[in-house]
């Protein structure tokens, strides 16, 4: 790098554009601008597709692993269960049942416990009524404490005494001054700092209670009496050695008296209380299910959708008499292939005829092909029902012709045959149209040339014409196959028991059992299978080899 090489560097260096920037960056800028402009043009459509198509699908698929409902509804219990040895024979400790009491009490006030019950009932039969029943009884469970505090001193009966004890002095003044007939907002409860350190659990429960009264029920906190839940928390705080002697705030005398008496209070063994409500609370199954489904995300739905179940010892196959989904997946794929095959068989000659007839006749025939498109899907499917049933048109004709005996009429519907016939008919246009548009572009001169060179009709068709029509078959097959994999109305109506698809179960779980997690997992698997097949198709046939025309 000496000065003598300086003139060369100008030539070797980056090329400059007219404005003095390097050509590369100038080109990049121009490209970026045009890309941006292109993006702006498609932006409305892109945003539309993202918002109305991709986002809902992603949200729905996400439900297949989502499981926050358990830890959201029972936060304390799931935390307590983290240390429990679920593989052993012992039930959780009584303290876990006490946390369960708090969680269910709070969930019951918010009416969330039954929702969790329905969720867990998908995994263990009977949890639904277990939670409903527990919700009804949970208010009575801790009442022993409330009664004893109230018997000790009438002070504990009054909501205003509680507010004075638990609340911050400034907040209390504002609350008492607040007029609940006025339009101003209720002063939000603020816990007193001293009591929060002295009675942490009571303060926590009271804050939850105050928040519920003020924000969910929108009642005047000054006029409400606290929940039974708070009394049991106070008892726990007092018996675990809270140093109330040094406390000098409002209600100090009553609190100290209560602390002295609390040790002799009758206590509730929550485990027994829960077992009194329903003996299922004493069964390991319930607790193991709770523990298995404690995490925020679960593989349970996916395991369910391949006939397995999530247990405390890991995934296990379900019993033979509960296995159904794998069978339905295989059946869906197999029948979709059969339907695609029969569409090719029936559609190819029609496409050929349409492409090679004079335009006038071809147009007329084209209308016949399109006609079913203009008829409602349900009407077409129901028409097949009338045609194919045992007292239907087809069977009547066959009997009249003497082909089958009157007492052995063919079963053409409510089985696989019915589904295949009806769906082949419904999906046929999706095969004919791509075939037709590809065949239309094959010059007839090629076949003529082959024949003039000595090929037989068959050779000319098979070696010259057919290979050129393969892209049409490819496009039609992909369309028909993917459409039929997701069909459910037609199989539901004509499929009986052996002709239904996996989509019928998905529909059932979406609209009847409300098990959207399982439906999402089944849908995700179906999507993955379709994408996998598409990928395989691309590798074997090549996606370039698919044409919808031209």
């Amino acid at each position: 790098m000496t000065s003598s090489t300086a003139p060369d560097t100008a030539n070797d260096g980056p090329m400059l554009a007219a404005d003095g920037r390097t050509l590369k960056s100038s080109l990049n800028r121009a490209l970026r601008r045009s890309k941006l402009r292109a993006l702006m043009l498609i932006a409305p459509l892109l945003i539309f597709v993202l918002l109305t198509f991709i986002a809902p699908i992603a949200d729905m698929l996400f439900r297949s692993v989502e499981n926050q409902i358990v830890s959201d509804t029972l936060p304390r219990t799931t935390q307590a269960l983290a240390d429990w040895d679920a593989g052993g024979d012992a039930l959780p400790e009584d303290s876990t049942y006490r946390e369960l009491y708090r969680d269910i009490f709070l969930a019951k006030e918010r009416k969330l416990h039954t929702r969790l019950g329905s969720r867990l009932n998908y995994e263990l039969t009977g949890v639904s009524s277990l939670f409903r029943k527990s919700g009804r009884k949970v208010e009575d469970m801790g009442e022993v404490y409330q009664d004893q505090f109230e018997d000790l001193d009438g002070f504990w009966k009054q909501g205003e005494n509680w507010n004075a004890l638990m609340g911050d002095a400034d907040w209390l003044a504002a609350q008492n001054a607040w007029d609940d007939k006025s339009d101003t907002a209720q002063p939000q409860f603020v816990a007193s700092g001293a009591v929060s350190t002295l009675l942490p659990l009571t303060a926590e429960m009271f804050t939850l209670y105050a928040d519920f009264v003020q924000n969910e029920d929108e009642d005047n906190l000054a006029k409400e009496d606290p929940w039974a839940l708070i009394y049991s928390a106070l008892h726990q705080d007092l018996t675990s050695g809270a140093g109330v002697a040094s406390y000098a705030g409002p209600g100090a005398a009553e609190l100290q008296a209560a602390a002295a008496a609390a040790g002799d209070f009758e206590t509730v063994v929550f485990r027994e209380a829960f077992e009194d409500v329903d003996e299922d609370w004493g069964s390991l199954d319930v607790w193991q299910t709770l523990k298995v489904y404690s995490p925020n995300f679960t593989s349970g739905y996916f395991l369910n959708s391949i006939d397995m179940q999530k247990t405390i010892d890991g995934p296990e196959m379900r019993d033979d008499n509960e296995q159904i989904y794998l069978k339905l997946f295989m059946r869906t794929l197999f029948m979709s292939l059969v339907i695609t095959g029969s569409c090719i068989l029936l559609g190819y000659p029609v496409g050929y005829m349409l492409a090679n007839l004079p335009a006038k006749t071809a147009n007329l025939l084209m209308i016949l092909v399109l006609l079913p498109f203009w008829t409602s899907l349900l009407v077409r499917t129901s028409a097949w029902k009338v045609m194919l049933q045992q007292q239907g048109v087809v069977n009547d004709t066959l009997v009249w012709l003497g082909v089958v005996a009157d007492d052995s009429r063919l079963a053409l519907i409510n089985n696989q045959t019915g589904t295949i016939i009806a769906m082949t008919h419904i999906l046929l246009p999706f095969m004919i149209l791509p075939l037709y548009s590809v065949m239309k572009t094959i010059p007839p001169s090629y076949t003529r040339a082959a024949k003039s060179l000595g090929a037989t009709n068959w050779t000319a068709f098979w070696r010259v014409y057919f290979p050129q029509s393969v892209p049409g078959i490819g496009a039609g097959s992909i369309l028909v196959f993917i459409l039929s994999i997701g069909y459910y109305i037609t199989p539901e109506i004509v499929g009986g028991t052996t002709g239904t698809f996996i989509s019928n179960r998905i529909a059932y779980h979406i609209s009847s059992s409300l098990n959207w997690g399982l439906a999402a997992a089944l849908g995700a698997i179906l999507l993955a299978v379709v994408l996998g097949l598409y990928w395989a198709y691309d590798r074997i046939v090549g996606i370039d080899n698919v044409k919808l025309g031209g």
Binding site: K111, S129, E322, I510, S512
Partner: protein, 368 residues
């Protein structure tokens, strides 16, 4: 520029139209969801028309009851509930209540008392199966048979369904375990009072499926209430289960050679719920409608158009004649003493717990 102007104009129009629609909804319209067909028609005649005349409210009908639970859940998640009153079966009402999607109702405060002053909670009695549910009708799922296909000895017992020797031919059963499992056990020698105790056990469930397996090849499984009437009318099946109102219309309106087999009919309830998440104004209107539509006279009026029994005890004596056919409706009610000699009441609690489990087994059994 022209394009931009057109775009702006059409946007403005759309927004304006949207606001008008939204306003309309707020002002004096309510959307009532029901099942469609003859059933919706009976509600239109008995409830909607008189209510619209009385109050000037416009009622918009939506026939989505079959998917009501799923749709309400979706609406609730989206925070935009567009329905005001929804007609659902009791089992769905219980689920909606469990999920917090339906409002709790205080029967004595929010429903009309009987004419003699009996409070609503007593008038409806045991039929108030959920805090959110306002019963409207009692219907039953029962069997109908072709009178011309059963020979000289028409069936009198539900067990004829399982007797393919005496009554050859196909049967139509609903493609779900509910009701079928009960009938199977009943005809397999289980006493009526023990049916649900047996069905709670794995062995009992297998016993019911085994009994159903004896006729599996002879069954056409239906999923829409209209299937069985069609199959009966076409002679595809010799007998089939469906809702009693559907059979009434096959027998009395279409005059088909079909008769009712009331034995072991399963009572079920259908009624209203009000979704949660309505504005105060819409909630007030929905409650006002419910108060009107479930009073004693209105429930009795509905029986003029369809053969379902009114849910109030006080309505029963007021049931009259069919509006078009002019026949007495009382003998066609599932609750008529002559028809109700041997009945089941849908066991809501049992099926809420066991539905998922037994359905999985039932579907796996069907697919075998």
């Amino acid at each position: 520029m022209k394009l931009a102007k057109t775009l702006m104009a059409s946007t403005a129009l759309t927004v304006a139209a949207g606001m008008v629609a939204a306003d309309g909804h707020m002002a004096n319209e309510m959307t009532i969801v029901s099942w469609g067909g003859a059933y919706s028609n009976s509600q239109q005649q008995a409830y909607h028309n008189p209510y619209m005349e009385k109050t000037g409210v416009t009622i918009i009908n939506d026939e989505s009851s079959a998917e009501a639970v799923a749709k309400l859940r979706a609406m609730n998640e989206a925070g935009n509930v567009t329905w005001d009153v929804v007609d659902v079966v009791a089992a769905d009402a219980i689920r909606l209540c469990d999920e917090g999607l339906a409002m709790e109702i205080d029967a004595d405060e929010q429903l009309a008392a009987a004419p003699d002053g009996t409070p609503a909670s007593e008038d409806f009695g045991d039929l108030l199966v959920s805090d959110c549910f306002i019963p409207q009708i009692v219907y039953s799922t029962t069997f109908g048979y072709r009178t011309d296909m059963v020979g000289d000895t028409p069936p009198t017992s539900v067990c004829a369904v399982f007797d393919t020797e005496a009554y050859p031919g196909k049967r139509a059963l609903e493609k779900r375990p509910i009701n079928n499992m009960e009938w199977a056990l009943l005809c397999d020698g289980v006493a009526k009072d023990d049916v649900y105790d047996v069905l709670e056990t794995e062995e009992g469930q297998q016993q019911a499926l085994d009994k159903l397996a004896t006729i599996k090849d002879d069954v056409i499984w239906w999923s829409a209430g209209a299937d069985t009437p069609q199959l009966l009318a076409d002679g595809e099946v010799v007998m089939g289960s469906t809702y009693n109102g559907r059979l009434f219309s096959v027998i009395e309106e279409q005059k088909q050679p079909v008769a009712m087999l009331w034995d072991a009919q399963v009572f079920d309830l259908d009624g209203w719920i009000i979704p949660t998440g309505l504005s105060d104004e819409r909630k007030a209107r929905a409650l006002d409608y419910i108060m009107f539509a479930t009073d004693t006279q209105r429930l009795a009026d509905q029986a003029k158009y369809i053969s379902y029994g009114p849910a109030r005890a006080s309505s029963a004596p007021l049931v009259g004649q069919h509006a078009d056919l002019g026949i007495d409706m009382a003998p066609h009610m599932p609750t008529d003493p002559e028809n109700a000699k041997n009945t089941f009441l849908y066991n809501y609690e049992f099926w809420a717990d066991y539905r998922d489990d037994i359905d999985a087994k039932f579907q796996a059994w069907l697919a075998q």
